[in-house]
Structures are given as structure tokens and as C-alpha cells.
Symmetry: C2
């Protein structure tokens, strides 16, 4: 990677975007040799309105500024979050949209992918609560293609992070998300 790679996961309150970003940050720093990460969530007046975001910055060197001002990769799970945050995407970056909850494509200069993230959690896995794990699978594929991180680093961090007894369910959701993205890129 260049010196800095910014990722943002955005959606609504119950979609687990914080845990998704925490897992990316831990995977990067604890499982990938030489990567540092800072993971942030900011709450303000806008958070009271419902769009919630969680960010991770990855770098080989020190990370002075921990916010993702212009993310190279965004996963956006609601229309409201798309309205609020899509325009920040780095020029030429990647935006992954939930194909059900985000109705309109943002008009931005980025690679845009519409994927059935929530639908896969709900209908394939049978538990909407694993939406964030499906999202992590899509992120893992992009990070693999771009040469930043191995999918196994994220998958193993999921296994270490989720409640005992739910590892299989969460990994299945992750694998489905990875597969969805791999069909496109």
C-alpha cells in the first residue's frame, strides 16, 4: 500500500458497524506483519439522526491523523449513510453498497458495487445480526485484491472476537460475503 489506507463502514445503529471496524483494525495490527491501525468512531449531532460510521486507518508507519477523511474503501449499508458519507470516497476508490437498503447509486468517481449484504445475512444465513460479518467478507476480498491483507487475518480475528459457540455462524457469513465480492472482483 501507499503510506495510508482508509476504510469506513457506515450504516444504522443495529448493524454492527463498530465491531466490523474493530475487527479490521485488530486483524491488520495483530495478524499482518508490520501494519499499524487506528480505529475510530465519532458521535455527534448527526449520530442522533441515525447514520452511524466507524473507521479504520491502516499504515506501515505511524498514524498521525486517525480519521478517515477520504476513504479508499467504504461499505455503506443504508441510504441515509450513503447520502451522508459516499461523497467522501477517495477518487478512484471502492464503494460497496447494500443492494436493498441503498436505493440510489451515489454520483461519484469510484468503483461502485451493489451487493445483497443484508439479504444474504437474512436469507442465506438466517440471522440478520450477522450483516456485519457478510460486510467483512466483502472488505476482505477488496483488501486481498489490492494486496493489503490476507482474508485469513480477518477470518481468524472474527473467530477470536465473537461469542463462543457462534464462530461457525459468523464465519459462514464472512465466507458468503467474500464470495459475493469475489464474483465481481
Amino acid at each position: 500500500m501507499s503510506d495510508r489506507y482508509e476504510i469506513r463502514v457506515a450504516g444504522s445503529g443495529g448493524q454492527g458497524v463498530i465491531l466490523a471496524a474493530v475487527i479490521i483494525g485488530q486483524a491488520a495490527a495483530l495478524m499482518e506483519e508490520g501494519l499499524n491501525s487506528v480505529q475510530t468512531q465519532a458521535y455527534g449531532p448527526e449520530a442522533r439522526g441515525g447514520a452511524s460510521k466507524s473507521e479504520v486507518v491502516l499504515a506501515h508507519g505511524e498514524i498521525d491523523y486517525p480519521k478517515a477523511a477520504s476513504p479508499h474503501l467504504q461499505v455503506i449499508l443504508t441510504q441515509k449513510a450513503s447520502d451522508e458519507y459516499a461523497a467522501d470516497t477517495q477518487k478512484g476508490g471502492v464503494v460497496i453498497l447494500d443492494d436493498f437498503f441503498v436505493q440510489e447509486d451515489p454520483k461519484i468517481d469510484a468503483e461502485i458495487y451493489r451487493l445483497p449484504i443484508v439479504k444474504t445475512a437474512r436469507d442465506v444465513i438466517g440471522r440478520e445480526i450477522v450483516t456485519n460479518m457478510v460486510a467483512l467478507g466483502t472488505v476482505a476480498r477488496i483488501l486481498e485484491v489490492e494486496g493489503h491483507m490476507k482474508p485469513e487475518s480477518i477470518r481468524n480475528t472474527i473467530i477470536a472476537s465473537v461469542p463462543k459457540g457462534t464462530e461457525e455462524l459468523n464465519c459462514k457469513a464472512f465466507d458468503e460475503g467474500y464470495r459475493l465480492m469475489k464474483e465481481k472482483k
Copy 2:
């Protein structure tokens, strides 16, 4: 509060310090009128060694710099974390130490409290996994005494954040932590 109040929770990997800080940040922004918060975890070479920290910055205005460079309040759950982080405490700030895992008091100009946080989780609640909720109870008491936040804001955020069916267990741990701190301040 003055314009900015910094909190750090530090310990080892399995102690739930991230969730503790996430809950403080959510409680501040979503339940206290007019408070903003930014919550951060940084991972780097030092994290691979075992001391893990999670930070929250509270302010009435915008938060430009999201890290807690000089925390007004720290909860420190291991000796290693104390060695690494205690010295950063704001002059005259508050440091809460776990009385079992932190053997030595740091030599700093701060109010230092030694409390049986892990022991209470393990022996009173019967589940060491709620260590972070006991820690949150101690934080809630300090924030109440200093006039920054109501304990109910944190308690209600816990109820909204923990897995269904575990609310009572987690709240009991929170209440015990609050009580421990209230005996001292």
C-alpha cells in the same frame, strides 16, 4: 466540563476495554444533551506485546484531535498497562487501578484509587468476563461526581449494547463497580 475531557481504559486483550470505551462514547453522545464524543483504539507494535488501550474524548464542541494524549481519568487493569500508560495521566487527574493485577502504585501527581475490579467480577458476579462492566461502574461514579454524565446514561447504554438475556448480569456488575467507587469518592 471544560472544553475537553479525556478517558482511557487500559488492560490486556481479553478484558473488554474496547467495549467499555465504546459504551462511554455512545452514552455521552446519545444520552447526554449536547455532548460529543470520539472513541479510538490504536494498535501498533506495543499492542502485540499485550497492553491494550481504548480511549474516549468528550466535549461540548467539536473534537479536532481524537486521541487521549493526557487523560483526566484512567482505569488500568494490569501492571503492564500501568507501566505503559499511567504516566500520561493529566496532573491532578484520577487513576483507578485494579487492586490485584496492578501491584505497584505509579508515582504520579493524581488521585489514585485501588479497587477490586477483577475480583468483584469473578467472586461477586461469578463471571470474570464482566470485568469491563465493573470498570464502567467505577467510571460512571467519577463522571457523576465531576458533573459530566449521569450514571443512568451509561447503565442504559449497557442494556442496549449487551447480548439479549445478559442485561441483568451486566447491570449487576456495573452497579457493583459504581458502589465500589462510591465508597471512596
